[in-house]
Amino acid sequence: MAGKDGAGGAIWVVAETNADGSLAKSSTEVATLARTLAESAGSEAVGIVVAADPKAAAEELAGYVGRVVAVAEPNAAGNAWAQVAAQRAAAILASEPPGAILTGAGSDGRDVAGTLSALLERGVLVNATAVAWDGGPSVEMSVFGGRLVTTSTFVDGEWGIVTVRPNVVTAEKAAAAGTVDSKDPEGDLDLPLVKVVDRIEEAAAALPIEEARVIVAGGRGVGGDEGFKLVQDLADVLGGAVGATRAAVDSGWIPYAQQIGQTGKIVKPQLYLALGISGAIQHKVGMQTAGTIIGINRDPDAPIAEFADLVVVGDLFEVGKVLLEELRTRS
């Protein structure tokens, strides 16, 4: 079956897990994409879970793909995870040439992809916003701050690694659950281990913004903690997460984890409600692919008016408070 360079090979997913051992949401999306691509390619979708105790995540992942390889690797706990996982995945992939390897595009997914790229000497197509199958993955990505969309492939039918952005695929389980094969780690880990010597808990964001379907975000115009209370209230009533511009983060009103834009996160929610955000390019690149964009802004000439669906010109506190009541009545 496997022809030149793994043609017909499976579409592999290197899965990420949450702190409690469950499967990361981004991996359910990537696994769904792998299954879709495998159907187009006439091959199978296979998942890899590398964790000290991979059982729970592996069983969950088997809901999305035909086969899961679960590697119980004690070193995956207590050490930085990605390089350990990538080495175990690379060992498996060396004996089963893939059609493609998919990871998430978050920090762990990038670390796995970069490490796999060097271990397997393969190319990486990054930040996929859509992937089709055309003899190999055909990957769409947004570049130059969203002013251009490119489609890229690997050369000469080679296989490679693709990192996939959150929320570009809706996770959907397969009709029938796949199988889980347990595999013991084989051989030494070649790359140096990096110890985790401490874990510091910080006021946790209730919902990671990359995964939120609705984001209510505040900028400089929100003015401070009191303003962010309104942003939070609106997010609560819409069932969404709170985001922010760099100016709001730099002012100390909200943690960096919530920052959207060039130096923060790139998000693609169905709804982006922007309060007191002008829509400067540095912020726009992080949210312009949102489904519906609505701004409330005092300045009618703010750049957000160039790419939002709706801009309400006015005082964000006045409009926001009425909106909050309106949404509470309607929902």
Binding site: R122, L148, G160
Partner: protein
């Protein structure tokens, strides 16, 4: 003991200028696009300079870029870096990430360092995978998503606060190590007039593929593992509806749009 830090700095098209030019292969024509230091690389450079403010340290910039990369590098030297190394070779035009990884790793093999710092990603490629690849080829400890970098020169180790979904993980590894930093490392400084003057006489060493003893067949545009098959402008969004009026009217317009799109 001097702490030797190499900061990877990539010249990227100026995002503010929005004047990127593409070559016939759909890849960026770097020589024709006005360049600045990648924004995320300035955070790691700032972290390196702060370490150099506090202790005996030497900061070297390392770039792979067209020959014009020297000019871009001057800003980093003006901020306070001590010297620069520019890998430049016509054969490197059109390099993909894997090619970049091999070239940077080869350049680092010829340098002495305790820490290599890389930015979270670049504003042009936005891949964020090169740092991990370089660490892998060089078998260096790899510490990513750093919010804080604390080397202990006497112990020969480095501690990093890595951003985690619930806060921070504190990582520790022996040096030399490769660290990928984030914006939390702190706002980059502006070059002072004195710094700008001093930068003019700082040394930038230029290296070709031959200097690195790298075979041009394995790197550069001809060896790229990925290719661009199509480029297009993203579909324009529908016209913006602008509502000016009372807060009630504004709020109602929002709620109506949400309802019509089944978002509430």
């Amino acid at each position: 003991m001097t702490l030797r830090i190499v900061v990877l700095t990539k010249p990227v098209p100026d995002p503010a200028a929005a004047a990127e030019r593409l070559g016939p292969d759909g890849r960026l024509d770097r020589a024709a696009s006005p360049a600045v230091i990648n924004g995320n690389d300035e955070y790691t450079l700032e972290a390196a300079l702060k370490l150099a403010d506090a202790q005996d340290a030497e900061v070297t910039l390392l770039s792979m870029a067209p020959a014009t990369g020297v000019e871009t590098m001057r800003k980093g030297l003006a901020m306070g870096a001590h010297r620069g190394v520019l890998v430049t070779d016509p054969a490197l035009a059109g390099s993909d990430g894997w090619s970049t990884v091999q070239v940077l790793a080869a350049a680092l093999r010829g340098m002495e360092y305790d820490l290599v710092l890389a930015g979270f990603d670049t504003s042009d490629g936005v891949g964020g995978v090169v740092g991990a690849g370089v660490a892998t080829l060089l078998k260096l400890p790899y510490l990513s998503s750093a919010a804080k970098i604390e080397p202990d020169v006497d112990a020969g180790t480095v501690r990093v606060r890595r951003i985690s979904p619930t806060g921070f993980d504190v990582l520790e590894a022996p040096m030399p190590a490769l660290i990928v930093g984030t914006q939390l490392l702190g706002e980059p400084r502006y070059p002072s007039l004195k710094g700008i003057m001093a930068a003019r006489s700082k040394e930038v060493v230029t290296k070709s593929l031959a200097d690195l003893e790298l075979d041009a067949a394995g790197v550069g545009g001809d060896a790229a593992r990925t290719k661009v098959t199509d480029t297009e402008k993203p579909p324009a969004r529908s016209a913006t509806q602008v509502v000016r009026g009372t807060p009630d009217e504004g709020a109602k317009a929002i709620a109506d749009l949400l309802a019509s799109r089944r978002l509430i």
